[in-house]
């Protein structure tokens, strides 16, 4: 169909005035034709639902009857009834979930970054079995999150779990720990699974950056007798910093919207809920589309803000770069 349109247009285009050749014109036209289907689909399944979610956050919509709702302004976010403040921003559960998510993101991404650098440095060295090793670290990444959560749930089982057994044998704990049911340890358990699953992603991105580094600097450093630690902090780290930054941003954005891992691992407990879990709970379990959408909108704004800040910071840093 597209080719027929392009061919039919050709004679008309040839007569068209302007500096651009007919070929360029027909290509420009086809560019929009080629992009249109994707844009329409994305507008339908991403743009429109996002707009509707933001709109719902200003209404009292109910999941059972989404067509019958009233505009209530900012009441889902913050409202005052007889001097008493209500709404999302006054809900301690919401702030608990915000804190959980931020804590989870900071801790897991930090650990993943450090471990990712270590793994990448190892994979960058030449040793027999390197290809096999790279395949092995990809396995946790490929396992569905639900499955990983269930596997770890079983390993962390308080009575029959292998992790309690190991720690008891080594003598690190005196009695079995209820890892996933206890709010203090459950988020650490989530961090452990996330690190297990996502360190390889970090490592592979860093490895790609490592492999693009010029080798002559390292030879020069070797000739000058610079210690390996110094080489790493003075040469390698600054050079891979841009790639590292990208990897950290990608992982952080991913961790900030965490849902399935915590949902399955800690069996939907309020103390360990993430922002996404809180929003879905309001939306689906309590049928409060207005409140749930308000939470969703805030999550969107938080993540959008972080994207804008990091993009801006990255640009500034690039501008300052003297090289």
């Amino acid at each position: 169909m597209t080719s027929a349109v392009a061919q039919a247009d050709a004679p008309v285009l040839q007569q068209a005035r302007g500096r651009r050749s007919s070929l360029t014109r027909s290509r420009l036209r086809s560019a929009w034709l080629f992009i249109a289907p994707s844009l329409i689909i994305l507008a339908l399944i991403a743009g429109w639902p996002l707009a509707r979610t933001i709109w719902f956050s200003f209404t009292d919509a109910d999941l059972n009857n989404l067509s019958d709702y009233e505009f209530i302004g900012f009441e889902n976010y913050l409202a005052s009834y007889d001097g008493e403040w209500l709404g999302l921003l006054t809900d301690p559960d919401w702030w608990q979930s915000v804190w959980n998510t931020v804590w989870f993101t900071l801790v897991s991404v930090s650990i993943e970054t450090v471990l990712g650098i270590v793994v990448a440095l190892i994979l960058n060295a030449a040793f027999p079995g390197r290809g096999l090793m790279r395949a092995i670290i990809l396995i946790p990444w490929a396992i569905p999150t639900i499955v990983s959560a269930k596997m770890w749930n079983w390993m962390l089982h308080d009575q029959f779990g292998v992790i309690n057994d190991m720690l008891l044998r080594v003598g690190l704990i005196a009695a079995p720990v209820t890892w996933t049911a206890n709010a203090d340890t459950a988020l650490w358990a989530a961090v452990a699974v996330d690190v297990w699953k996502h360190t390889s992603f970090m490592a592979l991105l860093i490895l790609a950056a490592l492999q693009m580094l010029p080798q002559d600097i390292y030879e020069a450093a070797k000739v000058d007798g610079v210690s390996p630690t110094r080489v790493f902090f003075r040469i390698t780290l600054p050079l891979i910093k841009p790639a590292l930054l990208v990897a950290v941003i990608f992982r952080s954005l991913d961790a900030l919207r965490v849902f399935d891992l915590i949902y399955v691992l800690t069996s939907n407990s309020r103390d360990t809920a993430s922002m996404s879990i809180y929003a879905r709970q309001q939306l689906v379990d309590f049928q409060e589309v207005g409140l749930g959408s308000a939470a969703s909108t805030l999550i969107f704004l938080i993540i959008a803000l972080i994207v804008v800040i990091t993009l801006a910071a990255g640009r500034v840093r690039l501008g300052e770069d003297p090289r």
Binding site: I45, I146, L205, F259, I303
Partner: protein, 274 residues
């Protein structure tokens, strides 16, 4: 002097390998133990009891769940690739006004938190009559796969030399023919890479699948595993869950091992070069 760092290096390699593989290994040996044996801890496989594997398909429509996952992931890959390929041609090869802005917008969509569109998507899917159907899930999953498919394919498309299409245009080919005859064969490796990534994303997707399906027969694998219950509400059928986990993980691991290099290329093309 040199032997000590070498030993340390290999110990580290082994440690990473064990850390990466142990949970899967433990799931596999657990899946072959059932009854009371499951509740004693074993580090080595000592029996080969397949009753868990029979129970998975016996107690719930797990075969149907797997089929659903294959249908959804397969359709998502096919649609993402065909839409993504044409869009990537335009983004990668034609300099039109607003290109950079559009690409940034598409990248921004891939950073959307899924939950941000949840209520709007719920309304959309229900109004289209697709609630609790596989097409509904396919539509929703496209939001996750289409943006990065376009993005990764565009970076691959840009790397192809310029002369390729010029020769074709001189010979009088239309853009559509150029895409189909010239770029499609050249982009086949990139398509395999992005297709695999899209497949894995869709195969692993949980939030949409949990929210937009209602009945056991319509569920894909992740919610089916997450919602597996035992004979009583307080006792989870760990053996069955482990068997189900192994069943759905082994094909994915096979894919990863076979296409390891391609997947790594796709992951890094999406992030580093972007």
């Amino acid at each position: 002097m040199k032997i000590l760092p070498r030993i340390g290096f290999w110990l580290l390699v082994i440690l990473i390998g064990v850390f990466a593989l142990f949970p899967l290994y433990y799931a596999i040996i657990s899946s072959f133990r059932s009854g009371a044996a499951l509740f004693t801890i074993a580090y080595l496989p000592e029996r080969f009891d397949v009753s868990n594997y029979i129970a998975v398909f016996d107690r719930q429509p797990f075969g149907q769940n797997i089929l659903n996952s294959i249908i959804v992931a397969g359709s998502v890959v096919a649609i993402s690739l065909s839409l993504g390929m044409t869009a990537a041609y335009a983004f990668g090869r034609i300099a039109f006004r607003g290109r950079a802005l559009l690409l940034m917008t598409i990248l921004a969509v891939s950073m959307f938190p899924q939950v941000a569109v949840l209520s709007g998507m719920f309304e959309l899917i229900r109004s289209l009559g697709l609630y609790n159907t596989l097409p509904g899930l396919i539509l929703a999953n496209l939001m996750l796969t289409l943006p990065f498919t376009i993005w990764v394919l565009t970076t691959f498309m840009r790397e192809l030399p310029k002369e390729i299409e010029e020769a074709a245009f001189v010979d009088g080919a239309t853009p559509w023919i150029v895409v189909r005859r010239v770029f499609l064969p050249l982009m086949a490796p990139a398509a395999v890479t992005t297709g695999l990534l899209a497949f894995i994303v869709s195969w692993n997707e949980f939030l949409f699948a949990l929210t937009f399906t209602l009945t056991n027969e319509r569920r894909t694998v992740p919610p089916a595993i997450a919602l597996m219950t035992g004979s009583t509400a307080y006792e989870l059928p760990w053996g069955t869950i482990m068997a189900a986990s192994v069943i759905v993980t082994v094909p994915i691991i096979g894919l990863v091992l076979v296409f390891q290099r391609k997947i790594v290329a796709g992951l890094t093309a999406g992030a580093v070069k972007g």
